[in-house]
Amino acid sequence: MSLPLEEREMAVVGCGPAGLCAAITAAKTGADVVVLDENDRAGGQLIKQIHRFFGSRRHGAGKRGYEIAGELERESEAAGVEMRLGNTVLGLFPGGEMMVEDRDGVYVLRARAVVVATGASEKGLAFPGWTLPGVMGAGAAQTLVNLHGVLPGRRVLMVGAGNVGLIVSYQLLQAGAEVVGILDVSERVGGYEVHRLRVQREGVPFYLGHRVVQARGRYGVEEVSVEEVGGASRKVFRADAVCLAVGLSPLAELAAMCGCRMVYSRELGGFMPWHDGDMRTDQPGVYVAGDAAGVEEASVAMEEGRMAGLSAAEDLGAMGRKEAERAKDEVRRFLWELRGGPYGEAKRRAKESVHCA
């Protein structure tokens, strides 16, 4: 038997900052846009971010992540975007055909333009005991604590001193957990100085140049031993949770599946679909934006989403070339600004090498 088929002008997969901005931008040009997301709430990972965001006013800076999610959701409703939550895209095929699962079954949706804005997934870090309950991604801990009000543990060891590790550590403290230490194999803190300072201010010790040796426990983590890189001495922490904040990888499986050429960038987290500066992939009608196009900040994801939305609207004929170029110039300017500073410049160079790959 055949599955029900629906034809639409444009479909966006993923309802995070990139997907919502792509949808809003395209819908404002008059395009018919549907957004699909497997979750029941819009906003992607923004909904579990309770810290104030960096960036400028255009990116909701100074507001908390979940507040930005709410604003984007209202904006997309106002723009006439059809939001289909609880709809999981299982496959994407050449020609813009998608296999989608909803509560009742599976259907096929064909769109002339598809934006893949599926975000990222947390990287693993294998050591003896990493499979014990209580060892989890820092994002998983954040989901538990900020969305569901459940602590991953009372005594948490954070592995990774990048922004995610620092921010989640602070949020665990806010919820009443102890962070027994933040450990990083590197000798320096990778995250922003202001994030480091506010965690340090709460008395959380840093163990730089250290790595996890193993976690032990019967039904879950009870203790974790760590060692200084190249050193002989070991330390053992009593801990009931270990959070891994060792980086994110672009999650662009749908793009890979439909034939997009994948390129590698260590700086941007791994393999991502090749794309140009306008967020077009090498497959006609397929665009990519946000962390799925290389892991960066949420503000960058929003601008990339806008860019993908403009390119799609242009290709669909909803927007003239000249008009699209003018709007894109503005987005380019914001992207350039956001990719300034020592952190941003490394991303900008990596992004340029992806465009040229």
């Binding site: 599955l3 960036g55 296999m99 997934s121 990287k123 201010r201 709460e202 499986e253």
Partner: protein
């Protein structure tokens, strides 16, 4: 181990606390303790008097003019890095007031005795809260003002209702390591993958041989580690090792549902 401040490009920035010292004799003034080039400008937006300037380059560290600041504290509540404070030495008698942004669980209110903490989370001593107000509604940030000995004023970075002593880790001898899976789903041994890695030129061939990445998560959590090990063993670039081939469905689905059977 604790880390010390980072200097950028050999440039030493003006200590914002000392900069505010003179002006603070006349009343509350902001201390903008932010010197890193990150894309951020809410402090500039928050200030109604033009005392904080970031400018066109959103990554530029804020420039602050203490002469224009009236100590309103809006920037303290807005800064995403919680890096703006207020210093007020107008109380005299060798006392000073420091205002810090506060987002921890314990309620702060005027009259309460708390601990004043330094930038490393070490207690400086007890201090009385002379003001605590939440700015920006339910999800706002509380501005907590404490009165302290003037000698501490440059060191206070936080407040705490009670002291928590973290249990220090125990020093220990090396212990025997347990076996562990690198691929969680298919339970493929990490050490074993290391042993055989040199024999495979791509992730895909290693997968066919060992079942790594063939399980429920489709290699999402082991793929990067496998790629690194393979690249190291073969002296290849990580990009050359490639990816697993992705096949639909990318999320688990009951076969009946795929076949169009009623859910």
């Amino acid at each position: 181990m604790r880390v010390s401040g980072r200097k950028e490009g050999g440039e030493t920035r003006v200590d914002p606390w000392s900069q505010a010292w003179e002006r603070a004799a006349a009343g509350a003034v902001a201390v903008v303790d932010c010197g890193e080039r990150i894309p951020c400008n809410p402090c500039e937006e928050a200030c109604t008097r033009g005392a904080i300037e970031v400018g066109e380059d959103i990554c530029a560290p804020p420039r602050f003019d203490p002469g224009l600041c009236d100590g309103c504290g809006r920037c303290v509540a807005m800064c995403p890095g919680m890096a703006v404070f207020l210093l007020d030495r107008s109380v005299g008698n060798g006392r000073a007031r420091v205002t810090v942004p506060y987002e921890m669980g314990e309620e702060m209110r005027a009259g309460r005795e708390v601990w004043a903490m330094d930038g490393e989370g070490k207690p400086l001593g007890k201090a009385r809260v002379v003001g605590a107000k939440k700015r920006g509604g339910r999800a706002g940030t509380t501005l907590v003002t404490v009165e302290v000995d003037e000698g501490w004023a440059l060191k206070v970075r936080g407040v705490r209702d009670r002291l928590i002593t973290l249990e220090a880790p125990l020093e220990a001898e090396a212990e025997p390591l347990k076996e562990y899976p690198l691929c969680r789903c298919e339970e493929v041994s990490g050490p074993r993958v290391g042993e055989v890695a040199a024999e495979f030129a791509s992730l895909r061939s290693l997968r066919r041989f060992s079942r790594v990445g063939l399980g429920y998560c489709q290699g999402r959590f082991c793929q990067d580690m496998l790629r690194e090990r393979l690249a190291r063993a073969r002296e290849m670039e990580e990009g050359e090792v490639g990816t697993f081939r992705v096949r639909p469905p990318v999320r688990p689905v009951k076969l009946g549902k795929l076949g169009g059977e009623d859910a």
